[in-house]
Amino acid sequence: MSNELKYLSERAARGLLNRRSFMGRAAALGATTTFASTMLASAVMAAGPVKGGTLRVGIQGGSSTDSLDPGLSTNATSLQILRMWGEPLLELAEDGGIDPRLASEYEASADAKTWTFKMRSGVTYSNGKSVTAEDVKATIERHAGEESKSGALGLLRGIVSMSTDGDRFILELDTPNADLPYLLADYHLVIQPNGGKDDPTAAIGSGPYILKSHEPGVRHVFEKNPNYWNDDLGHAETVELLVINDDTARVAALQSGQVHMVNRVPPKVASLVGRMGGVKVHSTPSAGHYVFIMHADTAPFDNKDLRLALKYAINREEMVDKILFGNGTAGNDSPINASYPLFSEREQRTYDPEKAAFHFKASGHDGSVLLRTSDNSFPGAPDAAQLFQQSAGAAGITLDIKREPNDGYWSEVWNKQPFCTSYWGGRPTQDAMFSTAYLSSADWNDTRFFNEGFDKMLLAARAELDEGKRKAIYSDMSTIVSDEGGLICPMFNNFIDAVSEGVEGWRTTKGFDLMNNYAPLKMWVTA
């Protein structure tokens, strides 16, 4: 029996037998449904990707105002578009390490100040020109320049000089940085001809696909780049991105078979989607966290007791249950979780109304505390604020909630008002996360956290090459943020993507959702 079943599963994997008939024949051979579908799945992986077909993606985040300039790409849709037509020098690997892409190899000097990248040979842009080290230099110059509008500008500080030597690109830093490869893997930094200085929105790159139709906020169509160098990426002949911003509509489009995959399934309905036939839900742990942020230098939050009172007054487990519906993990008032390579466990802070009441009394604050929120600070933020209101109420702390308009929340409330709900997508390394938002001089120090000791530890860790010592420093830094800072971090969210059974090849990947946005490139259409 098993030989016949194996034969059938291989035929099914090659698309010679459709899924339904395979399952029927398997049942006739006495196999259970679970066994048959496991068998099919492994046969599909073993048979390797099927080339060709049209893959449709329903994606959240696009807007008709989107630009094709990689520097101005900020939402999930523009990021996905960059993945299709462009390539960076290096890329985050599935397990969180670094994979070479346009650079075939790279090395650092002993002091981690000078970095040399060797260009992969024979790679061309979709317009036929070769990718050169000069283009890399020009790209980084454009993103890091004085006039730059790029979202990657903040990552590229500290570059002293850049030069090229044949197929080599050489970069010198003012201070050692062992994490530089992670910075160059940033999604904005796709390599463009002459760095995109001539026309940043031309969408000409060396990626697996070529942009054919571009209607911002509506639909983007890509066709396979026939000259692409890497056979592991880009299986479908055509990829269609449909921008579907409404959560319910996006899920319905998958349910009704109009798209093969969607990102950002609302946690509330994740289990319902999973129960439907023909669809698989993938809930992937991430470094993203849903937070409540206080300005630690603004009254009344400049009082450490009040900050601690609020930290003890939040019920983290309840938040994970009721806001994330189990698709996530409890936070510990530090922006770091197990997604980071150098993470170590600390003692978990839990909901404790008595301690909360004690610290609240010690703070001497009386009256209520105003919390601002909006739907687009994170999904379910007003609900989370109401749960916080309830749990704080039990500790004798009155929270007033003010719902702000979605429109303008990031420019008017976040990083301006002293207490609000917010979201952080996380960074690939602890160094990047702490430098982005917790260093005294950070641009986005949204908790107004100024701690000299902490700043020194960050610089020490950056120059430290011993991993064990680095880990210990980062652990102490998390404890400082957790005890002293203005961050209340109740939960880390999972990325919830849903994929129909008509496509195969899902692999758990760190980074962003939809397999770090490689799902449309690494998956293939079977039916």
Binding site: T248, V251, D375, N406
Partner: protein, 271 residues
């Protein structure tokens, strides 16, 4: 006077809604924001209508939501009718430049989509209940103005009004004694629809995150809170939607009964 059965039903239902709204604090089985169970529990003895998207009692939410909805919609409609009809009737009777100035101003306000208007005003002003009522009432009064002016212009050329003018009656006499009684029935008929449009406008504002502040919610906001369940056949969103529909029908049954003749009605949903 004999009241037809449909109108009687409308009166009873409308009265019932208002009573429940007024005595919400005494009737509601749980606290408005109290989390009492799991998410989207089905109907049970403890939760007659089940629970909502974060585990609050749906019946309780419905009762408090009704209070918010009816309170805001009633006041906004009252404001729009007082303002709109007084200006509309005056413009029709006075005519000339007064009519031109008010009418063109109203045209100006109406020609910009309400959505953009609401977005601008509510982004600048704090979103509180009085502000909501004011914004909704003012935007809606433009539609009432158009209706009452159109009706009054037709009546204004009637012979009995001409006669009153020739008698030398004062402006207020002509407006309130001659024109208003004859314009009343189309105005009342429109009142029913406008009340419902106010409820719907409130729910559109909630859809955009500009409505009532949480934990309070209006019925439209409740539909939105529970909308994710609809495509999976979960009925929590159905309850507030049905409440809006029943309120709409009962208010309009009453309005239909009051309406026995009509005239030019204008103004649409949102617009």
């Amino acid at each position: 006077m004999r009241i037809p059965i449909s109108a009687l039903m409308g009166l009873i239902l409308t009265g019932g809604f208002f009573l429940v709204a007024i005595f919400a604090d005494f009737i509601a089985p749980y606290g408005m924001a109290e989390v009492v169970g799991d998410v989207w529990e089905p109907r049970s003895a403890e939760h007659l209508l089940g629970t909502d998207n974060i585990g609050r009692d749906l019946l309780t939410r419905l009762i408090y939501g009704g209070q918010t909805t009816i309170f805001i919609a009633t006041l906004a409609t009252a404001l729009s009718f007082t303002l709109g009809s007084i200006l509309g009737l005056s413009a029709a009777v006075l005519g000339g430049w007064v009519d031109q100035v008010i009418s063109r101003l109203v045209d100006l306000l109406m020609s910009i989509p309400s959505l953009i208007f609401a977005l601008v005003i509510l982004s600048v002003m704090p979103v509180t209940v009085p502000v909501l009522i004011l914004v909704m009432g003012l935007l809606d009064s433009t539609r009432v103005y158009r209706l009452s002016r159109a009706v009054a212009v037709d009546i204004n050329v009637m012979d009995f009004v001409e006669a009153a003018k020739l008698r030398g009656e004062k402006l207020s006499w002509i407006i309130f004694r001659e024109i208003l009684p004859n314009a009343l029935s189309p105005l009342v008929a429109e009142l029913g629809l406008r009340f419902i449009f106010a409820v719907l406008f409130l729910s559109t504002l909630s859809f955009l995150g500009l409505g009532v502040q949480p934990p309070a919610s209006d019925w439209g906001g409740m539909v939105k809170e529970n909308k994710e369940g609809i495509v999976f056949g979960i009925g929590a969103a159905l309850v507030p939607a049905a409440a809006i529909a029943i309120l709409a029908i009962s208010v309009n049954l009453v309005a239909d009964w009051v309406l026995n003749k009509t005239s030019d009605l204008k103004g649409g949903r949102g617009g």
